[in-house]
């Protein structure tokens, strides 16, 4: 039953949430209807690796690193997109799950440069993954066709996040898409034209969601090339964009008293983690 009641803060209408109970690794957990298995895992504090998942995007469940074992299911299921159902019995650390996660990590690590991906090394050691036993990723120079951000395809794991952020999950520009198929698949503009020739509006929301640094601020790229990129020396300060009146929350990543990257928290009710070209790149005047 859905019923309506005024919401305290908004006076708007909200549905009263129904909750369901399921079991994860032998522990019962209750979550609102519509939650995913991943939500339930997080509620229990079960650490689940994710790569193609982001709080502010529709799950595409393409990377498969978050798979879990669901009783009654022939195959493993992607926890990021599978809706939790009452009485589900889920295992997150069974041999099948561990083996699948290990293999996903090896398949990725052997074909993509994951060196700049947060947590990747930790996960590899947690699941005893040795990507090199399947091969080593190919090298390719980054594509630099503008002064704001670069595309380093050697690091692209085809997680679709940038496509979603550019498309109808946020920006609605649709400058890039998954193109080609299978091993030839590539995220690109139409006919691979340069970004300045495409529909791109340089909001950088693709950069903001990229998990592997395949999309990087130009400044970050330059520092990495020079061997000067050092996240341990960086501070992150939350503030508000200096341009229009929307009030977008910015996180200024500063290294050596210089802004090197700008992000927005995905839980900000103003931005949902997304910015425009001025908010993301328009800080040159304080450099």
């Amino acid at each position: 039953m859905r019923s309506e009641k005024p919401k305290g803060r908004d006076g708007g209408l909200v549905q009263i949430e129904r909750t369901i109970e399921l079991e994860i690794d032998g522990r019962a957990v209750r979550v609102p209807e519509g939650s995913t298995i991943l939500d339930a895992c997080r509620k229990l504090g079960v650490d689940t690796p994710t790569l193609c998942y982001a709080d502010n995007l529709t799950p595409v469940n393409a990377c498969r690193v978050c798979v879990v074992e669901l009783e009654g299911s022939r195959t493993l299921v992607a926890s990021c997109s599978r809706k939790a159902e009452a009485k589900m019995v889920v295992r997150t650390e069974s041999e099948r799950v561990k083996s699948a996660r290990k293999m996903v990590l090896e398949l990725l690590g052997s074909s993509v440069d994951m060196s700049a991906t947060a947590n990747f090394e930790n996960w590899c050691s947690r699941y005893s993954a040795s990507p090199e036993r399947l091969g080593t990723p190919p090298n390719a120079p980054a594509v630099i066709d503008n002064d704001l951000f670069v595309r380093d395809y050697a690091k692209c794991m085809l997680c679709y996040k940038c496509v979603e952020a550019c498309g109808d999950d946020a920006q609605h520009t649709f400058a890039i898409a998954m193109t080609g198929r299978g091993g030839e698949a590539k995220i690109a503009t139409e006919f691979d034209v340069s970004l300045p020739d495409s529909a791109c509006v340089f909001c950088g929301n693709c950069v903001g969601v990229c998990p592997t640094a395949a999309l990087q601020f130009k400044r970050e790229h330059d520092l990495r090339e020079a061997g000067e990129w050092d996240e341990s020396k960086q501070s992150v300060t939350k503030t508000v964009c200096p341009y229009c009146g929307v009030g977008c929350v910015l996180e200024l990543h500063v290294q050596d008293d210089e802004i090197v990257r700008v992000t927005s928290p995905s839980d900000s009710s103003v931005t949902d983690g997304h910015l425009c070209v001025k908010g993301r790149f328009g800080w040159g005047y304080v450099r």
Binding site: K7, F202, G245, V254, I259, V270, V277
Partner: protein
């Protein structure tokens, strides 16, 4: 349903527009009212190409349609509003085919918007400078308020009237009393009780009368009643209409202090320049956004050279002028302010942080803030004064088109640029192109121009030289420029300083110009 009126939010408020897009995905309808087919209009279900300056005629035509079809919210009008009869008498004349036709909008579109607006569960009107940069800005706004009152589309979640703020703290400036007639929290400066609270706190006397608006200041400069000026973070030498005139007034001052991050055109005229910190990255404090959400700004970088925090400069100035406030931190100052401002009282720094910003009014520390205003209009009986209708009539732009100046010049903002360009100049966006006078394909042909050709655009006040660019979204007779690149195209030499007497905004949206070929 969302009506974006005189707002190209896709380019000017991109992240606000994300929220609109999300609503569209959920099935909301979008109407865009704009003389140009903007990038915003491309996302709309319907675009109403209003004639520049025809907004009141359009709003009245919509109102008249709603009334003619019996779609108004009678109960709401009777309970919560006043002045309906006078309003009704005026809009009666504005049939979409009659006086409403001044708007230039197809009557079928007028009726469609009217019906959707009146029958939507929740409808919101958002506007930007397309409404307010006119010499009848306030009347324009009233005409939109009338529509919301007529249908009860106000005071409820998801309904209402929303001016989209153009700067990150233009709302906050008002909140804090940076208005000639207000103290912090919109308390009237002429209200002795309100004044007394601050006088006690500050140990100083506040002048009991309201001050001058920017326009009034310029008038005072003309009269030599105003001879010294302290400009903080503004660039009037480039941002104000009829720039020749403004610059001569600034030059004529006895003393001009400019406090800014940049050596702006205004700073170049200054007696003293006080280098300031960048608010968003070198200072502590708060700003208020368009939805009245107060959020924190923080220092992430050390300021360069001799740059000082605005707060330090003001305190220091005060000390040297004989009243020592000490060196308050931003937080201490904020706490003092909120003690006297009921709207802000519940907003401690800690709560602002914990709640991700708070929307005023937030009267105490139990309040979560308010996502919309005027809910009182739905109470039974209505608490406080009733909401007034304003009977407003269409008025032509101050400057009529003539044989000599046959083109209408309107101005606006582009996605990658900002105001007079001082902040956005360093942004190496591939979208930034050299400023150009944008014309419709019809005018390009009629004037026998080539794209890229440099032309002289002349108004009664001045002339600029700019290359020509075609914008297929412009109607015949309308040309477009921005203020972003005054070094190359000083658009405000052309604009008219016809200001709304109440709001003090100039009519940037409607000047009369002609295009001349350069030899």
């Amino acid at each position: 349903m969302i009506v974006l009126w005189g707002s190209n939010a896709r380019d000017t408020h991109p992240i606000f527009f994300h929220h609109v897009l999300r609503a569209l995905k959920r099935g909301a309808k979008l109407y865009v009212v704009d003389p140009r087919v903007t990038s915003t209009a491309r996302f709309a279900h319907r675009h109403l190409p209003v004639r520049v300056g025809g907004d009141i005629a359009l709003a009245n035509a919509i109102a008249r349609t709603i009334l003619a079809e019996g779609l108004e919210n009678r109960a709401f009008i009777q309970r919560a509003t006043e002045g309906f009869e006078a309003f009704e008498a005026v809009v009666r004349e504005y049939g979409p085919e009659d006086k409403g036709a001044i708007s230039g909008v197809d009557p079928a579109l007028v009726r469609e918007l009217a019906r959707d607006f009146a029958t939507a569960d929740r409808a919101m009107i958002c506007w930007t400078l397309g409404i307010t940069e006119h010499h009848h800005a306030v009347e324009n706004v009233w005409s939109l308020i009338n529509l919301a009152l007529l249908c009860g589309q106000v005071g409820r979640y998801g309904a209402g009237l929303n001016p989209l703020r153009g700067q990150n703290n233009v709302q906050g400036g008002g909140d804090m009393g940076a208005l000639p007639h207000k103290l912090p929290g919109f308390q009237d400066v002429e209200d002795a009780t309100a004044r007394a609270k601050y006088e006690r706190s500050w140990g100083a006397t506040i002048p009991p009368n309201k001050g001058w608006t920017l326009t009034e200041m310029f008038r005072a400069m003309e009269r030599k009643d105003l001879t010294a000026l302290w400009v903080i973070g503004e660039n009037p030498a480039q941002s104000e209409a009829d720039a020749h005139h403004v610059r001569s007034l600034l030059t004529g001052l006895d003393h001009l202090v400019v406090q800014d991050l940049f050596v702006t055109k205004t700073a170049e005229l200054a007696t003293v320049v006080l280098p300031a910190c960048a608010g968003f990255a070198e200072s502590e404090g708060t700003v208020t956004n368009s939805e009245r959400r107060v959020q924190r700004v923080r220092r992430a970088l050390a300021p360069p050279g001799q740059a000082r925090d605005d707060l330090w400069i003001v305190a220091e100035m005060s000390k040297r002028l004989g009243r020592d406030f000490g060196a308050p931190s931003a937080r201490e100052l904020w706490d003092e302010m909120r003690e006297h401002s009921p709207l802000h009282r519940g907003m401690s720094y800690d709560r602002i942080e914990a709640l991700g910003g708070i929307q005023w009014p937030c009267p105490d520390e139990a309040s979560l803030g308010s996502s919309f205003l005027h809910g009182r209009l739905w109470e039974e009986p209505v608490q406080g004064p009733k909401a007034p209708f304003h009977a407003v009539e269409h008025r032509d732009p101050a400057e009529a088109l003539s044989e000599e100046f046959p083109l209408r010049l309107t101005t606006g903002r582009r996605l990658s640029e900002f105001n007079t360009g001082v902040q956005s100049k360093g942004l190496a966006s591939p979208l930034v192109k050299d400023e150009a006078i944008e014309v419709s394909p019809e005018d390009l042909a009629a004037l026998a121009l080539r794209e890229g050709e440099r032309v002289r655009v002349r108004s009664r006040r001045g002339a600029v030289i700019a290359p020509v660019r075609v914008d297929r979204g412009l109607p015949k007779g309308l040309v477009f420029l921005t203020l972003h690149q005054p070094e190359s195209v000083d658009t405000n030499l052309l604009t008219i300083e016809a200001t709304d007497p109440r709001a003090g905004t100039a009519e940037f949206k409607a000047a009369a110009v002609r295009i001349e070929r350069c030899e």
